[in-house]
């Protein structure tokens, strides 16, 4: 039971990192990323392959994962950021599918659908499973805290203000002489880098990855945690990750009590619940548990930037 709870803690931490990554692109800059999971996959594979194949230390492998996922994000954003956001939606979805197809077919590199097993975890050999879980939980918490501080600094820096201004009205930003395109590409790339880091954390924890893990449903999980917590707000992302795992895990305990359901049906019903929850949250358009704070304390409420949080 301790192991289970600690494992859930690690999962919360990993989701929190991913939610923070998504928050800067979606919450702060208002850019859609339907292929978030593709960048998570890039991070997971990069880190796994460089620590197994190139014998890099795990820390270095994780940094490499962050950089490569960030570069991939920069490429996708650079091709589409100047276009309507519909195109970014298609491009991101296409990008994540590309990653999955390449991971499935390039067997020499990724071992195809068999996946990569035996991904090293930090000090896994020296510790008992329980100790390893505790250590990894601490590691994930520290990394999530670092990412949180960085993202917090970033979103309240001048760059972060430019991003929020782009989200609310990009023609105003253009008029003020800022390069909308550059800021968008940078935001998207940073976000994808953090998603990649989340993927790397996942890979080294579970020690096993397959292409089929990285399906669009996973993207919805990350989005849902951000929506529950409060989009545009870094603390919200973390609170949301906690709520999401609680929700996901509680469904795991309910369904076995329902009679006459096959395992496939149980899995389908759980995914269905997630989708329904996401649609409901989107529809109610609440500002989440922790709404985004205002930049200016004395702004009249109807000027508050929260009103247009999702309006892109």
């Amino acid at each position: 039971m301790e192991n289970y709870l600690i494992a859930m803690g690690v999962t919360v931490g990993i989701y929190a990192v991913m939610a923070l990554g998504l928050n800067i692109t979606w919450g702060t800059a208002g850019m859609v990323n339907l292929g978030a999971i593709g960048f998570v996959a890039i991070g997971a594979y990069t880190s796994a392959l460089s620590s197994i194949g190139l014998d890099l230390p795990i820390g270095v492998a994780m940094i490499a994962a962050t950089l490569i996922a960030g570069l991939a994000g920069a490429f996708v954003a650079a091709t589409t950021a100047g276009l309507r956001s519909d195109y970014l939606a298609i491009a991101t979805l296409a990008a994540s599918e590309t990653v999955r197809i390449v991971a499935t077919n390039e067997t020499w590199l990724t071992n195809g659908t068999d996946g990569i097993s035996g991904i090293p975890g930090p000090f896994r050999a020296m510790l008992s499973p329980l100790q390893f879980n505790c250590f990894y939980l601490a590691l994930v918490v520290v990394i999530a805290a670092c990412v949180y501080v960085l993202m917090q600094r970033l979103s309240y820096s001048p760059f972060g203000r430019v991003l929020r201004a782009i989200r609310d009205d990009d023609s105003v930003v253009e008029t003020a002489g800022k390069s909308v395109l550059k800021a968008k590409v940078a935001a998207f790339s940073i976000g994808c880098g953090v998603l990649g880091l989340g993927g790397a954390l996942y890979a080294h924890y579970t020690s096993f990855i397959v292409p089929d893990l990285f399906v669009p449903l996973f993207t919805l999980y990350i989005k849902l945690s951000l929506l529950i917590g409060g989009i545009g707000n870094n603390r919200g992302g973390i609170a949301g990750a906690f709520m999401l795992v609680l929700f996901l895990e509680s469904t795991r305990f309910i369904f076995p009590y329902l009679p006459d359901l096959s395992p496939v049906q149980v899995a389908a019903a759980r995914e269905l619940l997630i989708c329904a929850a996401l649609l409901l949250v989107l529809k109610r358009r609440k500002r989440g548990l922790i709404p985004e704070p205002n930049d200016h304390r004395f702004l009249p409420t109807h000027f508050s930037n929260n009103n247009k949080n999702l309006a892109h």
């Binding site: 091709t79 491009a91 296409a94 599918e97 669009p216 899995a267 019903a269 529809k283």
Partner: protein, 274 residues
């Protein structure tokens, strides 16, 4: 022969984009829904193929109308990003609803077995020819509907210039209803054709999504003739790619097309600049 199975969903996607100015990622889930509706009509109720196809169209259309009216319409007010995420959630939701009901197993229609035809050393399955003919008939009917009927004209008016259509007293909500019904119905019909060509399972539509989006982007989002041309080119390229690429890389054609078109000519071959 890929063309015959992606042309109808591509037209559905384009129709929605032309009228609503947004992308409905849930279209391919409705294609799967249509395939299953046709499957139930064909095997459980024992109907012949033609009535089953009509069932696929009507059921997918009605569900498409409902999902748009009650789920996506309220999301559209809050912007493209929200709608895109919502339609992805809807896609996975529908997929799992079907998985809940029918399981993951591959299902087939009860079709008469027929010998393949040979033309000058080229093998052609009669089913594919029939699919092409059915697809063409549906396209002709749709273009007729858009050109001659009042509802079709209203749809084109809203697509062309929404404020003007509004001033002229076109009931936008009714047009939206018609559009969702027709587009999702076409998606469902296409899904069943796809299922007749291969087999039916909950991921049927999702697997074809990339090809359909690539065709729509290539032709130019929102352009109906563009959708036809795009589906034709993507279909041909995917078939021809089998000569040089392993079959598992077929969808790379669509993915590459999407990226190249977005970089080189975002408005597509026949689309207007957006």
């Amino acid at each position: 022969m890929t063309t015959s199975s992606i042309v109808l969903p591509t037209i559905g996607l384009t129709l929605i984009f032309a009228v609503f100015r947004y992308l409905n990622f849930a279209l391919m889930a409705h294609a799967t829904l249509g395939a299953y509706a046709g499957f139930v009509a064909n095997t459980t109720l024992g109907l012949p193929i033609l009535p089953s196809l009509i069932t696929a169209f009507v059921v997918a259309g009605i569900i498409g109308y409902t999902s748009d009216r009650y789920i996506l319409r309220s999301l559209r007010a809050s912007g493209t990003v929200t709608t895109a995420i919502g339609s992805i959630a809807l896609t996975i939701g529908i997929e799992n609803l079907l998985r809940f009901g029918f399981g993951n197993t591959l299902q087939g229609y009860s079709l008469p077995m027929r010998r393949d035809w040979w033309f000058e050393g080229v093998r052609i399955a009669p089913q594919q020819v029939e699919n092409l003919i059915i697809g063409l008939i549906a396209v002709v009917l749709l273009f007729g509907f858009l050109t001659y009927t009042r509802a079709g004209k209203a749809m084109r008016a809203v697509a062309d210039n929404r404020p003007l259509a509004d001033i002229k007293g076109v009931n936008a909500n009714r047009v939206y209803g018609w559009t969702s019904f027709l587009a999702m119905g076409l998606g469902g019909l296409g899904g069943m054709l796809l299922g007749m060509d291969t087999a039916v399972d909950p991921l049927l539509g999702y697997r074809t999504m990339v090809s359909v989006f690539a065709a729509a982007v290539l032709g130019g989002l929102g352009s109906m003739p563009g959708a036809l041309v795009g589906a034709l080119i993507i279909g041909l390229c995917e078939e021809l790619s089998l000569l040089v690429l392993p079959p598992s890389y077929r969808s790379v054609i669509g993915l590459l097309t999407i990226f190249i078109i977005l970089i080189v000519r975002p408005q597509g071959l026949l689309g207007r600049r957006t």
